[in-house]
Each structure stands twice: as structure tokens, then as C-alpha cells.
């Protein structure tokens, strides 16, 4: 892993790490956020707000469990409301974290090394938020384990021909692999914290979590193999997860769902919204934690360019959807097109086109990509736009499918909103705690980017091996 970095290669580009850092200064800088930085009022205020939202969330969920899904606005024909919209939205956000940690690792994009840790944490918390919604939607959530194949007294087994069962396997695998990927990455850094701190209790906690990691090169060798294998496994996994999520729709015959463009279009949309969330988190984090020399303008600009590119793949998806609605000659698909453009939810369709296609085009300008405030706002805009996209897919199609006599309207209730906004509070609270309690930037991976880490000794290995 010790290779010359683009600090030397791409001189016209902003560096991946500001020059002047050493092994020791990186350890100190990242560790001090966890070990020495005092608790600030800003952090406390942020946690307090998130905690309040979390209480609201808990109240809404308790009420939901007590009364049933009737407290939501879902009803026939729109049986999938906010719960599924939020599920798809959250799991999509998670995908950027895996893309950064796995796919960019395989592509040797070394700039990923300073943002992968918190992007992985983002994935983990986003998948946790996503995973809650299908369970809330079950009606009898305490029986969720019926989804898994296990020998039971009812002599019953799940239907493996159903995309909803595929989803259970895809999302639970994704959650598990994201967790171990993130934790394996943390082990050497936990050992660094253990060796840096003088506090006995912290030494015990970090030492326990590091499991006795002692930086032996034999361990590193196996560790690197395992990490690379995980990256190689997570890459097809992340593509499969949103593909399976899109199968939940595409396998059905509802107009607007039954289309083969869904898997690639969903994956691109996932990465689009995920990078928006990466920027929404990275811009304030690097400012408030004073790590603009580790998460540099280069990272921000690259993320913006990924957003622009995936935004255009999403645009292609919209165009093909519209084309097939017309060219396919199916009257229900043609009605769906009319309904999206002129029906009762037309506002959300136009808003999503504006948020996802029109406004992000300002990213073509370098000035915008280098302006953190503008980029932050554009990222929020993309997050809203991608949420609306899922809303249009789920609600517009379901509320008016085939028979006009079966048409209906979906109105979200305050409990729909409470559970949705509540997961935003849960996600933010987890991020706040993560930033304080664990190294938010990978210490050992950053060290491999320094000029000091470059191996210049000739290989005399052949002589005696």
C-alpha cells in the first residue's frame, strides 16, 4: 500500500493531504479529536436536538406498535407509503459509503483514504434507518423473524420466489458486511488510540476493542488480504442490494414499476443521493473539527464530480422511462405518464426534475464545486430530489394503477412524518456520537499516503528466499 501519492503526481490538483504531515502528526491530529478535544457547546446542542427528535421518533413508533399501521396514511390502493419511500431512500444513501470504501479501494483511488471511515459509518447508520421501515410496516413487527427460514412448529417456510424475501437477505447481508468492513478498518486505529491515551479506562476500552492488535507485519499481511477480499465482495454486493430493492418494484406489474431499466437506474440514484449525503456530512465535519488538511478540497470536488456523473445516469433513467411509456404502447403506461405530468402529484414530479436534473447542473462550474456553502446546498437539494423520486415511483403508480374505480389518494399523517424525521434524528445522533467516540479518519491508511511511507530500499529478497 505504500506508494507515492498524487501529492507529487497531480500538481495542478489540490493535494490529498496537505504537505507537512508526519506519521506522528496524523496520529495526534486524529486521536486528539477523540481523546483530548473538550466537549463543545456546539456538539452538545447538536446532540440535544437530535436526542429530542429521537424521543419524538420513539413516541411515534410506540404509538404505531400500539395502534397498528393505520396511524399512517397508507390504505388500499396506496399500501406502500412513506415507509417504503424512506426505506429505498436510506438504503440508497448508504451505498455511497460502500462505493467509497470498496470500489474506490479496488480502483486505487487513494483520495478515498481520508473519507472512507466516516462514509462507512454513514452507510452503517443509513442501513440501520432503512432496515427499520420494512419492520415497522409489517403490522406485527414482533414477528419479523418469520422472514427468515428456520424450522418452526408451523411447518412453514418463506417463499423464495418473492422479491420481498430476496430483500430480507440482501439488506441483512449488506448490513452485516458493512458492519464488519467498518470494524475491521477500525482495529488498527483502536490500537493507536490505546497506545496514545494515558487514561486507564480508555486504554482498557480501546485495548479491548483492538483485541490485542500489535501491528505485527504478519498480522498486517493477513489484514490487507482480508480487507481487499471484503472490498471485492462488497462491490458486487452493493450493486446487488439496490438491484434487489428495485426488483421489489420491477417484478410487480404495476404501471411505472414493471421495467428493466430499474436496477441500473436505482443503483445510480443510490450513489447520487449517497454522495450528496457524504458532502452534507463532510463539509461541516472538516470545518468544525479543523481537519481541512486531511479532508481537502480535492475530496470535496471529486465527490461533486461523482454526483454530477451519477446525476446524468439518473437523467438517462428518467428519459428511458418516459420513452418506454410512449413507445411501449401500453395504455396503462401511457396513462402513468399523463398522471405524472398532470395528475394530483404532478408538483412532486416537476419538483424532482428540478431538484435532480436542473439545479445540480451548476456543478459543471469549478467555482461552484469549490464553494463549500453552495455545494452543501446543492447536496441538500439532491437529497430532497431523490426522496421525491422514490415518492413519485411508489405513490403515483400505486394510487392510480388500472381501474379508475380503484383509484385513491395517499395523504401522509403526522406519524408518517414523525417516523421519517425521527430516523433523520437517529442518524444524526449516531453520527455525532461516532465523531466523538471513534477516529473519524483512518489513521493507518492516511499514513500510507505520506512521502515518508514510500519504500525505496531495493528488493534483496531474491538472495535468501
Amino acid at each position: 500500500m505504500a506508494r507515492p501519492t498524487e501529492v507529487e503526481i497531480g500538481e495542478q490538483k489540490a493535494p490529498v493531504i496537505q504537505p507537512g504531515h508526519t506519521f506522528a502528526s496524523i496520529t495526534d491530529k486524529v486521536a486528539s479529536i477523540v481523546l483530548r478535544r473538550p466537549v463543545t457547546n456546539g456538539w452538545l446542542l447538536g446532540v440535544a436536538i437530535c436526542f429530542l427528535i429521537l424521543q419524538w421518533f420513539l413516541f411515534a413508533v410506540c404509538w404505531l406498535f400500539y395502534k397498528g399501521v393505520g396511524v399512517w396514511g397508507v390504505n388500499i390502493p396506496a399500501g406502500w407509503g412513506f415507509a417504503i419511500v424512506n426505506f429505498v431512500w436510506w438504503i440508497g444513501i448508504g451505498h455511497a459509503g460502500t462505493l467509497i470504501s470498496a470500489i474506490l479501494l479496488l480502483l486505487r483511488q487513494q483520495w478515498r483514504n481520508s473519507i472512507n471511515r466516516f462514509a462507512e459509518a454513514m452507510t452503517l447508520f443509513a442501513v440501520a434507518c432503512a432496515g427499520m421501515f420494512p419492520i415497522f410496516h409489517l403490522g406485527r413487527p414482533w414477528l419479523f423473524y418469520w422472514l427468515f427460514p428456520y424450522p418452526n412448529t408451523m411447518s412453514y417456510w418463506p417463499n423464495f420466489r418473492s422479491p420481498l424475501v430476496w430483500d430480507v437477505f440482501a439488506v441483512s447481508t449488506y448490513g452485516t458486511i458493512s458492519l464488519v468492513f467498518w470494524f475491521v478498518g477500525l482495529i488498527p486505529d483502536l490500537a493507536s488510540l490505546r497506545d496514545t491515551t494515558d487514561n486507564k479506562a480508555l486504554k482498557f476500552i480501546f485495548g479491548g476493542l483492538a483485541m490485542g492488535w500489535r501491528n505485527s507485519v504478519r498480522h498486517w499481511n493477513r489484514y490487507e488480504t482480508a480487507y481487499l477480499l471484503l472490498a471485492g465482495l462488497a462491490t458486487p454486493l452493493v450493486l446487488s442490494v439496490h438491484t434487489v430493492v428495485s426488483f421489489d418494484f420491477a417484478i410487480g406489474i404495476v404501471p411505472g414499476w414493471h421495467t428493466t431499466i430499474f436496477p441500473p437506474y436505482f443503483v445510480a440514484g443510490a450513489i447520487y443521493s449517497g454522495f450528496a449525503m457524504v458532502l452534507v456530512l463532510a463539509i461541516p465535519i472538516r470545518k468544525f473539527y479543523d481537519i481541512e488538511d486531511l479532508i481537502t478540497d480535492r475530496h470535496i470536488e471529486n465527490s461533486a464530480m461523482v454526483m454530477l456523473a451519477t446525476g446524468w445516469i439518473v437523467a438517462y433513467g428518467y428519459a428511458i422511462e418516459a420513452f418506454v411509456n410512449w413507445y411501449g404502447g401500453d395504455p396503462y403506461e401511457a396513462f402513468l405518464r399523463w398522471n405524472r405530468l398532470h395528475g394530483p402529484y404532478a408538483v412532486s414530479y416537476y419538483a424532482l426534475l428540478f431538484f435532480n436534473l436542473v439545479l445540480p447542473q451548476v456543478l459543471w462550474f469549478k467555482k461552484v464545486r469549490n464553494n463549500n456553502l453552495a455545494l452543501f446546498l446543492i447536496s441538500l437539494d439532491v437529497l430532497v430530489g431523490m426522496w421525491l423520486e422514490r415518492f413519485v415511483i411508489v405513490v403515483v403508480s400505486l394510487s392510480r394503477d388500472f381501474m379508475p374505480s380503484a383509484f385513491g389518494q395517499y395523504y401522509p399523517t403526522q406519524f408518517d412524518w414523525a417516523v421519517f424525521i425521527g430516523t433523520l434524528g437517529f442518524f444524526s445522533a449516531c453520527m455525532f456520537l461516532f465523531l466523538r467516540l471513534l477516529p473519524a479518519v483512518s489513521i493507518s491508511e492516511l499514513k500510507t499516503l505520506l512521502p515518508e511511507a514510500e519504500v525505496t530500499v531495493e528488493r534483496e529478497a531474491e538472495v535468501h528466499h
Binding site: 497506545d195 507485519v217 504478519r218 538472495v463
Partner: protein, 178 residues
Amino acid sequence: MKDPRTYGLMAEFDTVNEAIAAAHKVYGAGYRKIDAYAPFPVEELSEAIGFHHNGVALVCLVGGLLGGTAAYVLQWWINTAGYPINIGGRPLHSWPAFIIVTFEMTILFSGLSAVFGMLALNGLPQPYHPVFNVPQFDAASRDKFFIAIFSSDKKYDPIATRAFLESLNPTSVAEVPS
């Protein structure tokens, strides 16, 4: 020449290149019960102490094959024997529908095998290890590189080995108490 009071001797180096050069000399001098420590992965350093292959990929492969096979066999058994449902006369063994769960379980089991295999081969979790008794060793996770020769090595001699390590120009040489 096993010395029961000493686990080995440990030399400290400031730069990665010094450590690699020294590791080559240690291995070249015939020492085999050795280890090197670095704050980040250095492939050249593990090669220098004669560590070329690890079994993690094999564990991962076996785990993945087992996971995928188990998932497919389970779906096949459930659909043909355990809980067969006739839907529109379609075949019970409808294999295309089983691909996704088979794929996901292959990934899950190979990923977990890679991680737990790596930890098991590394002997982790390990609550105690003598190398941590060396005060300087905290810097192994910070900015220093270490090479240790263990007293279990056949060539180990408390005086000659220390003199040998001193000759490699380390920043310090320390005894590792067991």
C-alpha cells in the same frame, strides 16, 4: 538457548527503509523466529522477514462455497420437499428465482470467513502479549518500526544476538521480558 526470563530482543528503527534493510539482514543471518512491527501495512517488510503467503483467501473461498451451496440446497429442499407450493403449474425447482439468495449468502459467508479467518490466523483476540512490556513499543502504532528476535529461535543468544541487532544501527535495542 531458550532463556525463560526473556521473550526476545527488540530493535527500534525510525524509518521504514531502515527497518526493511535491517529485516533482510536479520533473515539473512539465519534467524527465523522473528517478527516486525509497523504503524501501517508494509508489504516489503513482511516479505523481508520471510512471510509470503497467508491462508485468508483460502478460508474465504471455502466459506463462500459452503454458504452458497447451503443457501441453494436449502431453497431447493424447501421448494421441492419442505413446503412445495404449486403456483400456476410452474416447476417447483425454479432455479432462476434462487440465484439472488444464493448470491447474497455466498457474499455473507465469504465475507465473515475472511474476517474471522484473518482474526483466527492472527491469534486475535489476544489479551496479553510480551512485546507490550517494552516501553518504546507504544510507538509501533504511531511512527516507529520494530524488529524482534524471539528467544525461542535456535540461533538466539542473549549476548551475540544483542550485538548483532546493535550492528544494524537501530535507535534502540530492548529486551522483551516474558
